[in-house]
């Protein structure tokens, strides 16, 4: 129907080739190295080019009953986690964007907080809370004389933490869609006497369907690749998922890279299928909700029901944010986490600043902080630009090969960080100009790894903007770039700001892919955090997590403010 048909053919081809070249470097080349690793017995670099290739590892992996069991466990916990994450995320985006629930701004700010904690730290925080006998929740239940106990070392425990942890993903996707939605259809429904709840399910939800699907898909695919949560919560219950199985292969001596890489290919295949499914569902549907007239998102007056939404929000935030935060704060301020009963929690002699003192007396702490901020800014800027170019091409043009671009750009997300980290070092160690060993190679890896997250979150904003706005500008003789700058960017700026802040947050948290790429000069916070953790003392790790979370909270507050300021709704 539309497309870049206004531009000469060579410009169109050059643009597609340019994007494919970027993706080739960022994604295809490392994934190829990984596949070579799966086919050879040795690392593709160490073998010096004349490695013997065979399908041996693939056959071994596919015939391995452990892999089958791990695959089944993976699909089960990720599907369960996604289901709950979507339900929770949607509820919150609706409450914060569209209802008159009290304290909505606070709810909005707090509901993304689980995202700010690295998965490993979240898992440890939950093991402090939900360990079968000594978990704080169980100590509390016992103190209150109640008979129930919780056990997070279980399949349901992993599902619950996945859900809590990735609900903010769904929320971030759907809330910008809800905010930028033209309310006229809902108003029409209201005028025709349709009930509020019927309106939600028959009008509001279908309108933001692409955002829901994008969020669902991404949450599922990201869960596939997470190691920290199933490792900490699954090992005691002897539940193995693909990532823990792969980790086991890589930490063997000698490491079984070929089997690990071959197992990762299963994850990549599942991801590719998920993307293709998403493309099929969305094909030929229109999700335009932002058209060329003024609007203001409609706020639904819930009447007395607003106290119910408030109570539900408060209950969820208590579980998802307050409890783990308490666990982390106790871990960081308490000398030791031995808490046999309720009274022990209030023994003030056990609290001190020791862990913080120790943290800041470590010379690496400030070095890593500086590096991480540098990496975060570079990743947000470069990744924001690359992702916008890809998202615009995939969702706003009809250029050839855009479907391919979509699939390629989504692949990195499901590969466990540790595995993709190996692929990056294999692929990029020979880059010229001292990139290896500097913060740039880390930023590059994060851009590559988080393209899917950013492209998908931008897609929801882009799909909503009606063609007519762009067409109008183009018909008036304005160029493509001018139109993007003056029409598209202002309309989707809340989405763009949200995507870039997501990039910043993810790059501060990201651990797996950094593990092979950092040097003594470019040590990031996440690697220092895990090194402190692996030393065995949780106190200083908890203190560092608290510091990291505070930085991220500051970032989120800033970007929430920024996206409010740039939201088109506020300018009309």
């Amino acid at each position: 129907m539309h497309g870049m048909n206004r531009e000469p053919a060579f410009v169109r081809y050059a643009w597609v080739l340019f994007l494919l070249a970027i993706l080739g470097f960022l994604v295809v080349y490392p994934v190829t190295m990984l596949s070579l690793g799966a086919l050879s017995e040795d690392s593709p670099l160490a073998a010096g080019g004349d490695a013997a290739y065979s399908l041996h590892a693939f056959v071994a992996v596919l015939a391995d009953p452990d892999v089958l069991r791990a695959t089944w466990n993976t699909l089960a916990v990720c599907a369960g986690g996604t289901l709950f994450a979507v339900a929770i995320g949607l509820f919150f985006s609706w409450v914060t964007a569209r209802t008159n629930t009290p304290f909505v701004r606070i709810i909005e700010a707090v509901s993304v907080m689980p995202l700010l904690i690295p998965p490993l730290v979240a898992a440890v925080a939950w093991s402090i809370l939900g360990s079968p006998q000594t978990g704080l929740i169980n100590v509390l239940l016992q103190g209150l004389g109640l008979g129930w106990r919780v056990n997070f070392y279980s399949r349901w425990g992993i599902v619950a933490i996945f859900a809590i942890y990735y609900a903010p993903y769904v929320y971030m996707f759907t809330s910008s869609a809800m905010k930028n939605m033209d309310p006229s259809l809902e108003e029409a429904a209201a005028i025709s006497g349709v009930s509020t709840f019927k309106t939600i399910f028959q009008i509001t939800l279908p309108l933001i369907l692409p955002a829901i699907i994008a969020g669902t898909m991404l949450a599922f695919v990201v869960m596939l690749g997470i190691y920290g949560i199933p490792a900490v919560l699954g090992t005691p219950a002897r539940i193995s998922v693909l990532t823990t199985y792969i980790y086991e292969l890589i930490s063997s001596a000698p490491p079984h890279f070929s089997k690990a890489a071959a197992t990762s290919v299963i994850l990549i295949a599942v991801t590719a299928l998920a993307v293709l499914a998403q493309q099929r569902v969305l094909r030929d549907k229109s999700f335009v909700t932002v058209a060329g007239k003024a609007f203001r998102p409609r706020v639904i007056d819930l009447g007395r029901w607003k106290y119910l939404t408030l109570a539900l929000s408060a209950a969820y935030l208590l579980v998802a944010v307050v409890l783990p935060t308490i666990a982390l704060l106790m871990g960081s301020f308490r000398n030791f986490l031995y808490i046999p009963d309720l009274a022990a929690i209030f023994d003030t002699s056990m609290y001190s600043l020791n862990h913080f003192r120790r943290l800041f007396s470590n010379s690496l702490t400030m070095v890593s902080l500086g590096n991480t901020l540098k990496i975060g800014v570079i990743t947000a800027l470069v990744g924001g630009a690359v992702s916008f170019a890809i998202a615009y091409t995939v969702y706003r043009t009809r250029l050839a090969l855009r479907g391919l671009i979509d699939v390629i750009s989504t692949l990195p997300v499901a590969i466990p960080g540790l595995v993709i980290g190996v692929a990056y070092i294999w692929a990029w160690i020979n880059l010229p100009g001292g990139i290896y060993g500097s913060v740039w190679i880390l930023a590059l890896a994060f851009v590559a790894r988080f393209i899917p997250d950013t492209v998908k979150s931008l897609s929801t904003s882009l799909l909503q903007v009606h063609r007519e706005l762009e067409e109008a500008s183009l018909i008036c003789g304005r160029g493509r770039l001018y139109t993007i700058r003056k029409i598209i960017l202002p309309l989707i700026s809340p989405g763009l700001v949200a995507s870039m802040s997501l990039l910043f947050i993810l790059s501060i948290r990201e651990l797996g892919s950094s593990l092979f790429l950092y040097s003594s000069r470019s040590l990031p916070m996440s690697v220092l955090l895990v090194n402190l953790y692996e030393g065995g003392d949780f106190g200083v790790t908890a203190a560092f997590s608290v510091v990291q979370t505070l930085i991220l909270v500051a970032v989120v507050l800033f970007t929430t403010w920024l996206s409010r300021k740039t939201s088109i709704a506020n300018k009309l």
């Binding site: 160490a46 063997s252 160690i429 060993g437 593990l515």
Partner: protein, 337 residues
């Protein structure tokens, strides 16, 4: 009388010779130290725990304040992957490599330059089967128990399989790293052929790595278990409710293999650091402050250990050859996977 005089002259001559011989050595040392100071720093790749290694470096810097040590820390398998990739690309940045796992280090043994510490003969044969590589760091597994929880202290590894500790013992999976593999090997070869099965039947609580195991014992999630002494002794010193038992069967010891790569950009600083770390001074700092072990002749033991405490060093050939098969078996017995 004459013979006596000759002997006296000989002794004097020998003494003079000795002085002559040590003079150039001292001059060489001084020159090296000066060169090391000019280099000003070294990059250390280590599989040791970060804070343990930082503490050791702090002691090194008390003596050599103008040689800065930059640490890149990763567990053995990850460190090996990094080193092999960097070597293949000609970009190895390390001046000293301290690997926890001799099996992995064998894959890149050719990168190490000729090196022996001045006190080389004080180290046991078993730990120096790889040319140019030395047991700079020794890690030992001890039993730690939560003293505040009122658990009856065990005396031996065998006790962990006793039903009174059913469900209360934390066990780090054998494949977590070289030291957990040593511990598993020790269990089967020394404690008893049936020990894995007996321990597995006692419903142990499995942990993916040493860190959550140590913190699990502190929190009381489990009440006791085998952990590395250098992870718990500094914690006890700062007041953690733990106590350490040195089991009667012995302490499974994993010795590192440390050396200086031929490509070291700061070779003099690297030698000064290695010489110091291998010296009685360096080893004592690791044991006394780091809570680790040392296999050097005459080295101290960590606090609470007695001269009866036996250190068990695995057969270096079996450490490599048995590993794959035995770990598979361990995983099956403990229900991992």
């Amino acid at each position: 009388m004459k013979a006596h005089r000759i002997a006296g002259t000989l002794a004097a001559a020998l003494a003079a010779l000795a002085v002559c011989a040590s003079q150039p050595a001292r001059a060489e040392d001084a020159a090296r130290l000066q060169a090391a100071r000019a280099e000003g720093k070294l990059v250390l790749y280590t599989a040791n725990q970060l804070e343990s290694e930082q503490d050791l470096v702090a002691h090194f810097n008390e003596k050599y304040p103008d040689i800065k040590v930059e640490i890149v820390r990763a567990p053995g398998s990850r460190l090996a992957t990094r080193i092999q990739t960097e070597v293949a690309a000609g970009k190895l940045a390390a001046d000293v490599i301290d690997m926890s796992d001799r099996g992995l280090a064998a894959n890149f043994q050719q990168v190490f330059a000729d090196y022996a510490p001045p006190n080389a003969d004080q180290y046991p044969e078993r730990t120096r089967t790889m040319a140019n590589l030395w047991p700079k760091t020794s890690w030992g597994f001890v039993i730690a128990y939560n003293a505040a929880a009122g658990v009856k202290p065990p005396a031996s590894w065998r006790d962990l399989a006793d039903t009174q500790y059913s469900g209360k013992v934390g066990v780090v999976v054998a494949n977590s790293g070289g030291s957990t593999w040593t511990r598993a090997m020790f269990g089967r070869q020394v404690v008893g052929e049936d020990y894995w099965k007996a321990l597995a039947a006692n419903h142990p609580f499995l942990y993916p790595s040493g860190a959550p195991a140590a913190s699990g014992i502190v929190r009381g999630e489990v009440l006791l278990g085998g952990v590395q002494s250098n992870a718990v002794i500094p914690m006890i010193r700062s007041g953690a409710p733990l106590k350490v038992v040195y089991p009667t069967e012995g302490i499974p010891i994993t010795t590192s293999v440390a050396g200086i790569p031929k490509t070291s950009p700061h070779p003099n600083a690297a030698r000064v650091f290695m010489d110091w770390a291998m010296s009685a001074e360096g080893q004592t700092a690791w044991v006394r402050n780091g809570g680790g072990f040392s296999v050097m002749k005459g080295a101290p033991l960590p606090e609470g250990a007695t001269p009866q405490t036996k250190l068990w060093i695995p057969d270096p050939a079996q450490f490599v050859s048995l590993r794959g098969e035995w770990i598979e078996e361990w995983n099956r017995i403990f229900g991992v996977k």
